[in-house]
Point group: C2
Chain length 214, copies 2
Amino acid sequence: MQIAILLYPDLTALDAIGPYEVLGRLPGVEVVFTAKEAGPVRTDLGSLTMTVDRPLGEVTRPDVLLVPGGPGTAAQLADQEVLAWVRSVDRTTRWTTSVCSGSLLLAAAGLLTGRRATSHWAALDGLARLGAQPVGDERMVPDGKYLTAAGVSAGLDMALRLAGSIAGDRTAEAVQLVLEYDPQPPYRAGSIATAPAGLADLLRANGLVVPALD
Amino acid sequence: MQIAILLYPDLTALDAIGPYEVLGRLPGVEVVFTAKEAGPVRTDLGSLTMTVDRPLGEVTRPDVLLVPGGPGTAAQLADQEVLAWVRSVDRTTRWTTSVCSGSLLLAAAGLLTGRRATSHWAALDGLARLGAQPVGDERMVPDGKYLTAAGVSAGLDMALRLAGSIAGDRTAEAVQLVLEYDPQPPYRAGSIATAPAGLADLLRANGLVVPALD
């Protein structure tokens, strides 16, 4: 089974690496990172470059497509070459998936029209404008073969669920144990519902760049 | 403030990228990936290459050192150039930290002798052999300026705690909300205590490679 993860400039690294770390451990799975051109892709925070081994034209029939998000998503929404590739490979995928604002790209390609889907909490409005039915209070949203996850770290949970669908629950549990994925965040600010009042609005106004608050 | 993340061949990508995604969002923080040589570093699953911008010799006084783990750690334990660099930068760090088997490298450098520390559940024995006092049932273990995390995904929790120490709790909460880190794993197999009986032994015997179990 081949799983293709689409990269592009200014994506958020964890959107891609979380699912990669889960899905890449499944027996019989090949994960391929692909982008318009082979070579380095700089991620959003600037320090990290990931390398693409195979351009889009060499990845034509993945079983699973995964589209990560990030500040760079916006530029991709108007890139007809990327959108055409997404539409093309979607015709034969078993699952078409996204993390964070990656769902905007699926929607811009016309794949989520009328479907329930989620995204990063700050991107849900954009998802509605692109014709999907945004769901804001679920960690991941399945609709047919489409599986969209909430922001950044939600890709880990989504990938584990997908791992269960691909390889069965016991194998997915083994991956979880290898990754020691027993989360114990020291704060409870990970969702709009639990974060301190006003924090989401402040971050939205700041383009999701974290200011000094203490 | 500069945070240095040490890379080496066959590290586990998420060990490095989880903390990077948290710490790299703090105001006034620069994250630098460093390794013996600048250029590409292939991670353990084979599909992903990360690029190092600056070799060890150009990173001499980071405020924070973070050492990720992975199957490649073993080869580093005998690399005197790497161990000498770790010892050298540790003399002036505010925090010296690790994720997963990265703590073995800190221990091999002599920094954890007699200290409480943790590691991936499969690496705790090795930590004891290298002179540390392994702690197996905590997600992260502080001892003075040393902060060690459990396996792979524990780096996210450790980095959030470190973010609070560096920038204050409110700023760390803002990072958590940007990453929408509200974990909801679909299984409860993420620790030795919660995983199905026998699964850890099976994985240990298989070198942590996940076999088909369903």
